[in-house]
């Protein structure tokens, strides 16, 4: 954005040491937040059923569970330990691996061990690594589309306020934010996949075939991007209009700067700040599992995995995905805050 120096200078960051201290503090806060989230998940899935009088161990064994096998499961998973002990074992397992044992029945889960699913009788970590690329591809592809189209539409609308383009774009945007993705997704499947037969609509891993992957991802990308582009266009337009009324824009114009420079350099810089905040939160949330999109298009991503896990109360999978999701949200927010300082020299990282 422009050729002016974007970092450095006495006013920007306060030296590399301050930035480092800031990063360490933020990472520490993120770690605390992760522990809190894991505690909350443990509480939701252990305390609420206990309060409601449901035994988790027997739900893992099955409907006709005999007391001995229920007790074995409880011992093997450590379900009778206090919650804090269980949380501790969970975190320890991530770094050093974990062994589940009850009598002669021993299951080893190598580090990084995010737990062992009793429903599917497999480690959680491979499930996460299998499904993560699908969700990441979905989120990143859609984000590029919605940023480009949403921001462009919003800026154009703001510049041509009241014009036919502005009204048209805003009507479409308002419709876009009012349409649930599981409806637009089904509609697009019905039209482009079933009706016109242009797109197969089935997910193919990128490693199998690039064109197949592209064909399977194009509808999810477009429908997901449509929803967010509508949201971003509305916010961009509102922010841009507000900024165009600011004194420094008038000053820039009064200096005789070209309109492209006034808009592209001066106005865009401030407009991008709220957009970036949203992008950080949205992208983080999506990377953790675009539950609705993945359900609509049957994409084998994290969102689909966690939804199935929630329905079967498969706690280890839920914990694993929640951890990844929260991590993604926290990292995305951190990146955004650092980017702030790059975009807006007034922001100091302290």
């Amino acid at each position: 954005m422009g050729h002016r120096k974007t970092s450095g200078g006495p006013r920007s960051c306060g030296g590399p040491l301050a930035v480092l201290a800031y990063l360490i503090r933020r990472l520490f806060a993120a770690a605390v937040m992760l522990v809190v989230i894991i505690l909350v998940v443990f509480c939701i899935f252990f305390l609420v059923p206990k309060w409601a009088g449901v035994d988790i161990a027997s739900s893992f064994v099955g409907k006709q569970a005999d007391p001995a096998s229920v007790a074995a499961v409880r011992e093997k998973l450590g379900l009778s330990d206090p919650i804090f002990v269980q949380v501790w074992h969970f975190f320890k397992g991530i770094f050093v691996g974990r062994t589940y044992a009850a009598g002669g029945d021993v299951t080893h889960c190598a580090a990084p061990c995010f737990g062992y699913s009793f429903r599917t009788e497999q480690d959680v970590w491979p499930v996460l690594t299998d499904r993560f690329p699908v969700t990441l591809g979905l989120a990143l592809g859609a984000a590029v589309l919605w940023l480009v189209f949403g921001v462009a539409a919003g800026v154009l609308s703001a510049l041509k306020r009241g014009s036919l383009w502005d009204r048209g774009a805003m009507v479409i945007a308002l419709s876009g934010v009012s349409l649930p993705i599981y409806f637009t997704g089904l509609l697009s499947l019905a039209i482009f996949s079933y009706g016109l037969g242009w797109i197969d609509g089935k997910y193919v891993p990128l490693t199998d075939s690039f064109s197949g992957w592209l064909g399977g991802m194009i509808l999810p990308w477009v429908t997901l991007a449509f929803l967010y582009a509508a949201m971003y266009a509305r916010i961009t337009r509102a922010t841009m209009l507000e900024i165009l009324g600011e004194d420094y824009i008038r000053t820039a114009r009064a200096k005789g700067l070209k309109e492209q420079v006034v808009i592209g350099k001066h106005a865009m810089r401030s407009t991008m700040t709220p957009i970036l905040t949203m992008l950080g939160m949205d992208l983080g949330a999506l990377i953790g599992g675009a539950i609705l999109t993945e359900t609509t298009f049957s994409l084998p991503g994290l969102g689909q995995a966690v939804l199935n896990a929630i329905k079967t109360q498969d706690l280890p999978i839920i914990l694993g995905v929640t951890l990844i999701t929260s991590l993604a949200v926290l990292i995305a927010n951190l990146v955004v805050d650092v980017l702030y300082a790059v975009i807006d020299p007034r922001v100091r990282l302290t």
Binding site: V48, L174, V177, P180, Y182, L186, L292, T325
Partner: protein, 335 residues
């Protein structure tokens, strides 16, 4: 999902109250107009917002009188009409998903329940959850936001950290998790009413930080104003100042955020029911209809289109009305 809320305008909104106050002070010179009056006059001129408002009113009427309308229309939402179903494909006979004089929007695949009647009843769930969860969020957000802003110090620190934390949570995931672990029977409720109750609480709970942040910011900026000082010097207690002096000035942003929160909540309810953790069958909900429609999007597209359009119209109407209210309460807008 980020709620499409616009902070700048909402923050600016209370100065409309000041303007109104100034205007009423000059009442003798110029005919004064209250904030509500000004907003209403602006809203009246906004055709789209009015249209949205009328649709919202209609929907409320439909939801409240759903049983009456259904009986006038002559269809029971839970009655099976298997004779109308093609036994081979289990989709409705006839064109457009079985649309006819007796079944205006066709019938469901497999069991042939009347779609129009189910849409009517679905409106009750959508609006009930949308409104009540917004009320939960507004009450929590206003009370906690005002406390954080007014008392500052450790009260503010705790409440603000909780708000930051909740906003950084993967919300949909937690809502799904919470709704799904809740027992099927509690507090004397059972079946779908438990789910509706839980959804209202959980959606409301995750919504309050959006309002809480705005209210906190407003309170922070207002607690040092002269009129608060005047009240304090007259010996007014803290709670008098909080609820009699500050709260009335927060009404504008609270109204704006509430109207914008309702459509978001309606979408969340539909999403939960779509994912199978919302209301339980046979209670009808638009999201749930869409989730069964996934299997028939090719053979019976009508079944998907009807609930989808119902959600769309409802949310669009609320959004149009909400945008209108926001613009009407915005002092920067032209009069």
């Amino acid at each position: 999902m980020t709620a499409p809320l616009h902070e700048p305008t909402a923050e600016a909104a209370p100065s409309a109250a000041e303007e109104a106050a100034v205007a009423s002070a000059d009442a003798k010179a110029v005919q004064g107009r209250s904030l509500g009056r000004i907003a209403w006059e602006r809203l009246k001129r906004d055709k789209l917002a009015l249209a949205g408002g009328i649709i919202v009113l209609l929907l409320i009427v439909v939801a409240v009188f759903a049983p009456l309308i259904a009986s006038l229309y002559g269809q029971d939402p839970d009655a099976y009409h298997e004779s109308l179903i093609d036994p081979l494909f289990s989709t409705p006979k006839g064109s457009l998903g079985g649309v006819s004089g007796t079944h205006w929007l066709g019938v469901e695949p497999v069991n042939g329940r009347d779609i129009f009647a189910r849409i009517l009843y679905g409106a009750r769930i959508s609006l009930l959850v949308g409104f009540l969860s917004a009320i939960v969020a507004v009450v929590l957000g206003t009370v906690l936001g005002i406390l954080a802003g007014f008392f500052g110090g450790w009260v503010d620190s705790i409440i603000s950290r909780v708000m930051d934390g909740l906003l950084a949570f993967p919300q949909l995931l937690f809502i799904i998790a919470l709704v799904s672990v809740m027992p099927d029977e509690m507090l004397g409720l059972n079946g779908s009413s438990v789910r509706v109750f839980v959804m209202i609480l959980v959606i409301g709970f995750f919504g309050w930080p959006y309002i809480g942040r705005v209210v906190r910011g407003q309170t922070l900026s207002m607690r040092e104003r002269e009129y608060v000082e005047a009240a304090r010097s007259l010996g007014a207690g803290r709670f008098y100042i909080l609820f009699k002096e500050l709260l009335p000035n927060l009404v504008a942003p609270i109204i704006v955020y509430t109207t914008m929160m309702i459509p978001t909540n309606i979408l969340t309810e539909a999403a939960l029911s779509f994912l199978g953790v919302g209301v339980k069958p046979p209670t009808s909900s638009w999201g749930q209809m869409l989730s069964t429609a996934i299997d028939y999007y090719d053979s019976d597209p009508m079944y998907m289109i009807v609930p989808g359009v119902a959600i769309f119209i409802t949310v669009l109407a609320f959004n149009l009305f909400g945008d209108g209210v926001r613009d009407a309460l915005d002092p920067k807008g032209s009069r």
